[in-house]
């Protein structure tokens, strides 16, 4: 293998970025801690395009569905990737930790089973991990990798309440009246700074040249005014409809805190209700819902 993609520790307690290790001797730098959240899967695109050798990659449950996503979109050659599956009990949310502990005092944070262990200043604090986990981990239904060559340790049990809380937020927004809903989304999208982080991190957005980066025709203006921002989010949500596997990264890394999961999960809920339950990223060979049809599909409009 030419390289292994994993995570390493960086300066601050909450920083565990992705790392590309080419020299086996540096394997010690690899780390598994409550902050190794960022999904390394999309880097495989660049890697496979630039070098022919095999590459290893560590994947959590959510990341592994990203592998299937790229395989299904024919952007990845399975045999050139060695997948190390890492069952994951959930990752910590630095914001939640900062809200309860003096950030400057924290030295390091580790997860032991259901316990979060922090060294703050010189004393050690143990708290229940549940309250400090990322939202996306609380609704995670596939903590164990769905595709791997080798599994690092045995599988973990998914959270019980993961299922009902999956569409809870979507339900809450949907129950608002039309005008209230518009005002809610207007407030959210007003903060969007159009940095495209959500698109660039999303394994479902794996096009060679994204439609928003094309000048001729110009589908989306570069100006950050409300109509264009809404246009961007509607079209992106539509493009990943039936392909998004709810890894929640877009919402997590959005600097402006736009609740993108509520939008993507709304489409997943609609597709499940209308065209039958479909979970993206589990089987790399099936056909996404919008790429197929059945004669007796129901319609969301008056078919008389």
């Amino acid at each position: 293998m030419a390289a292994v993609i994993g995570w390493r520790k960086k300066d601050f307690w909450w920083q565990s970025p992705v790392v590309f290790l080419e020299d086996p001797a540096a394997a010690h730098r690899l780390v598994w801690d409550p902050f190794t959240v960022y999904s390394p899967v999309k880097f495989l695109l660049e890697w496979q395009a630039s070098c022919a050798a095999k590459v290893g990659i560590f994947v959590k449950g959510c990341d592994s569905r990203g592998i299937n996503r790229l395989l299904q979109d024919k952007r990845l050659e399975r045999e050139r990737v060695v997948v190390y599956g890492v069952p994951c009990g959930g990752k910590a949310d630095a914001e939640k930790i900062r809200a309860s502990f003096p950030a400057k005092g924290i030295k390091d944070v580790t997860l032991l089973g259901e316990q979060l262990v922090l060294t703050v200043g010189d004393r050690e604090v143990r708290v229940a991990a549940e309250a400090y986990l990322l939202d996306k981990c609380l609704t995670c239904r596939h903590p164990n990798p769905v595709v791997y060559d080798k599994l690092l340790w045995e599988e973990v049990l998914p959270r019980q309440r993961a299922d009902e809380s999956r569409f809870a937020r979507v339900q809450a927004v949907a129950s608002l009246a039309t005008e209230e809903r518009f005002f809610y989304w207007q407030r959210q999208f007003e903060r969007c700074i159009r940095c495209f982080a959500c698109r660039n991190t999303c394994p479902a957005c794996n096009c060679r040249v994204c439609i928003f980066d094309q000048a001729e025709p110009r589908w989306l203006g570069k100006a950050n005014d409300p109509a264009d921002t809404l246009n961007y989010h509607i079209i992106r949500a539509f493009h990943v409809a039936g392909r998004c596997f709810e890894c929640g990264e877009c919402e997590r890394i959005c600097p402006a805190g736009v609740p993108l999961q509520e939008l993507n999960r709304k489409l997943i809920k609609d597709i499940n209700e209308a065209y039958g339950d479909y979970e993206a990223g589990l089987d790399a060979t099936d056909q996404p819902p919008l790429g197929t049809y059945r004669g007796e599909d129901p319609a969301g409009f008056d078919e008389s």
């Binding site: 509607i234 709304k266 049809y293």
Partner: protein, 143 residues
């Protein structure tokens, strides 16, 4: 926002599939039916040619209503075109309603080549519904 003799006149963009609804529109003409003049028809080969990008672009550029008209399921000249349209535009319509856009703003109707009367009726009902809703302020470009 065009106001003709003190009444709000909405602008409606209609994507009509060449084989059925566009033919239905022609039949409405041949039979000299009359319907609201607010609608502007864009001819597309099949309703499955209509990209959500066109629909959002129309709203962004100031259309007050958008209609996509295609063949009845099973009648599509290209066999399966409108089956894909049905799934795509159902997902899109429910999404923009979820984002707070009034449901009547964006409509999809199946109109066959022999349903001239239905075409005129749909045009009138869509124009009326949008007239009641008032101008499109939510999706419109501020420029």
């Amino acid at each position: 926002m065009p106001v003709v003799n003190e009444r709000f006149e909405p602008l409606i963009v209609a994507f009509c599939c060449n084989w059925c609804s566009y033919a239905g529109a022609d039949l409405a003409g041949i039979s000299r039916m009359s319907y609201a003049s607010n609608v502007r028809i864009i001819r597309v080969p099949c309703s499955s040619r209509v990209n959500p990008g066109f629909i959002i672009r129309a709203f962004q550029r100031g259309a007050d209503g958008v209609l996509v008209a295609g063949c009845h399921p099973g009648d599509c000249h290209y066999h399966s075109g409108n089956f894909f349209t049905r799934r795509r535009l159902t997902v899109l319509k429910q999404m923009i309603e979820y984002l707070g856009i009034e449901p009547q703003r964006f409509q999809v109707r199946w109109i066959s080549g022999s349903e001239g009367a239905k075409f005129a009726m749909v045009m009138n009902s869509v124009a009326e519904e949008i007239r009641l809703l008032g101008p499109n302020r939510k999706l419109r470009d501020v420029r």
